[in-house]
Amino acid sequence: MHRAVVTGIGVICAVGRNLTEFEQALREGRDGRVPMHSPDPNAEPWDLRFTHAAQIHDYVATDHFAPKEADMLDRFAQLAVVASREAVKQSGIEWTPELRETTAIVTGSCIGGQTTEDRGFVEVYKRGRPRPHPMTIPKTMANAGASGISMELGITGPAFTVATACASSAHAIGLASGMVRSGMCDVVIAGGSEATFSPGILMAWESMRVVSPTVCRPFSRDRNGMMLGEGGAIMVIESLEHAEARGAKPLAEIAGVGMSSDAHHVTQPSAEGAARAITRALKDAGIGPEQVGYVNAHGTGTTVNDATETRALHQAFGDHAARLAVSSTKSMHGHTLGAAGAIESAAAILALRNGFLPPTIHYNERDPECDLDYVPNQVRAWDGEYAMSNSFAFGGLNAVLVLRRL
């Protein structure tokens, strides 16, 4: 077995256009919440119960892509490509023809290019046009992010996309690290991206009544729902030997991966399912619960998720749960759906490397059902070797990553 290490990370989200800005925001406890607006000037006006979200307010496609290129990529795929550029640059990887042929790309996305699809369908169903734009299909496909990265970097190895709702990019990173550990690939570029802001999708979220009309307060007794977000995070994952052979300094090791499915309910999470994924991740990493200091929680801010996740942490960590630091950075960057696992693993790696615990912001009040240390409102200094990132999807599909400081 090889060891899978991360040598480069790229992030773009509401609280940071790159990794440095992202870390600064995590330390400051910055809320990415802004008044929602449609990136599409022709979009239908919306009238929703929630008015704010963690949108990337200053993103302009043509700042990152030639106009023609931008036209070919939905915003979610653009965010994947933008994040991949930063990750590859940080990794210092130098592409050879052989490396391009053997490197893999694994991305995660929940809704893919549905904002493009939504726009196309409005034209047809509402505005009476005979057909949507010819690029609707290739821009909507969930693998457009992986394809965009492949074309951007000239990578010709295996490339595909995992769609497990809000655990998509955690599954993608887990799978990527498995590909490296098994020796199938020396290098895998993995992560995920999401762009959520179009009228039909927002209305569908409203319909589920899980989005907060105010602010996102994970684990706080007065929490009232999630904050939608958008963004992308991509990592360069390679074998430790490969990294060392080219003189790269790894940022962290993906030490353990745990996956499980609840077989329970399509939207209600199960503590047992989540706990199984956590326990498997610990076992895979070969560590005991007491070796983990920080958990970047799934922590959506809904009544059900946060109480269930707390129960799962108690089940999996036992007595050590009381000594864990657990925070939900979704309180800042929002719930970025398929990108969440990658963005939050990046946060956990920053925490490990740079010695801090990102807070759960807007935390007000202890809930008897959420009785752990959620690092309320203030960043905290921390020195630990292992951190965990939890992702639990609708459909009851769970992915947990154990990250190790190197």
Partner: protein, 96 residues
């Protein structure tokens, strides 16, 4: 086909039918005193039922009201109140 929505009994009957439809149960099994447990209504079912009721009665159930729904009786009485108050307007919805 134009039911009298000023009659609370009529509203109640239609609410019970929508709950039965949503739970895929015979309407005779749903009464105002049925508990959520009896009918197998979980939180997602409640969201689905309220969605159907909003469409049926052209009402808007705010999230805050939604949280207080614990029983069939809560649903019936809540809908009767909202129907009596008349159709929602844009600004009210935005404020909810």
């Amino acid at each position: 086909m134009s039911p009298d929505l000023t009659n609370p009994e009529e509203v109640s009957t239609r609410v019970l039918r929508i709950i039965a439809d949503n739970q895929r149960k015979d309407v005779s099994l749903v009464t105002i005193d049925s508990s959520f447990e009896e009918l197998g209504i979980d939180s997602m079912d409640a969201v689905n039922i309220v969605f159907a009721l909003e469409n049926e009665f052209n009402i808007n159930v705010p999230d805050e009201e939604m949280k207080n729904i614990r029983s069939v009786r809560d649903i019936v009485e809540g809908v009767q109140k909202l129907v009596a108050a008349g159709p929602p307007t844009g600004p009210e919805k935005a404020a909810a």
